[in-house]
Symmetry: C2
Subunit: 203 residues, 2 copies
């Protein structure tokens, strides 16, 4: 095979504006509500900046709230369809901590906080990441209804399946604030102001 045309690596990067948005945010966020508020803020800015969908996540130490990484949906910016907020945040956290298992020996428990329930891809990404806790703002069916995104089929007992694997699930945190972010996005979509990145959505 003529090897050179094959691409041998790809990189997923946070948009530049994230650095500005994090200015003034403390290194540790003890309150889970405050962690979620940051996720909502990042999700809101992400679609307004045109860098992806209205989704954000952060990985922190569960006990202290020390922020290990943040992620936003970076599909548009990276050109890679798997670059959802959870995949970005988890990949950045694992890169920072130099290992594929955030639940590995000697590490504190890690938590991922997401503004909306993970799609089926990110459901799996969370499962295999080593985090011990998942905190969700807006539930999946509501996300689909508001945004018209297809989140993919999850098993009905998806939350229990996390718990079986040692990952606790908290749902509905700052729910109304999360819904407001998604509704603002949807209004912009209806007005023709944003690019929708979800391939085959509902087709």
């Amino acid at each position: 095979m003529d090897v050179p045309p094959l691409v041998a690596s790809f990189t997923i990067a946070l948009p530049d504006w994230v650095r500005d948005e994090l200015a003034g945010v403390p290194e540790e966020i003890p309150s889970v509500e405050d962690r979620m508020a940051l996720a909502h803020r990042l999700a809101d800015r992400n679609w307004r900046e045109g860098t992806g969908g209205p989704f954000a996540a952060l990985v922190c130490e569960r006990g202290t709230g020390r922020i290990v990484s943040v992620g936003v949906n970076a599909v548009l910016g990276s050109g890679v369809s798997s670059a959802h907020a959870e995949v970005v945040a988890l990949g950045l956290a694992q890169t920072r901590l130099r290992g594929w298992d955030l639940g590995g020996e000697g590490l504190p428990e890690h938590e991922i906080v997401v503004n909306a329930r993970p799609c089926v891809q990110c459901y799996g990404a969370v499962l295999w990441s080593g985090v011990r806790s998942l905190v969700i703002g807006v539930d999946g069916p509501e996300v689909e209804e508001i945004t018209t995104f297809d989140e993919g089929p999850l098993v009905p007992d998806w939350a229990a399946q996390f718990e079986i694997r040692g990952i606790s699930v908290t749902q509905g945190l700052l729910h109304d604030e999360g819904v407001a972010v998604l509704r603002a996005y949807r209004d912009a979509v209806d007005a023709g102001d944003v690019t929708v990145y979800n391939a085959r959505s509902g087709a």
Copy 2:
């Protein structure tokens, strides 16, 4: 926040040996069986090289078999838990074609060929990638039984859910050859010769 400690990007790269393995492989592989045979070969070499689990995928143009990318499980090499073969192959293909939708306008139909049924994460990754065809070697429950990996919960009608979204599914291609690769891997695991990378597997 003290921003510098936060990592702003991560990169997923193919192991160096892939280039050697592809030497002599034609640019186009017209037969789907031959595409699968390449996937099995890459999967087998991947665990033997110590660069990841026994999983590989390739993205090609469905009609001609022109290879757009190959991927192997790169969890160990990249330190990123989402770097399963499908995520790697799809990310590389999208990077090469400069877009997050492999089913976008003006593109030929794309196919992903994987040696084993995608786990729940990669199930979603395939859904959102824009490929129009998924070809599988070994089925999921058999993969779990042989390798002891947890592949995560899929809905019972997972294949129909692909079809609903315009993605055709072919199962059991070169099945026995695929099982042989997985069994060889399992034997090595039982002998204590390899690192298992799947966090919380069955725990």
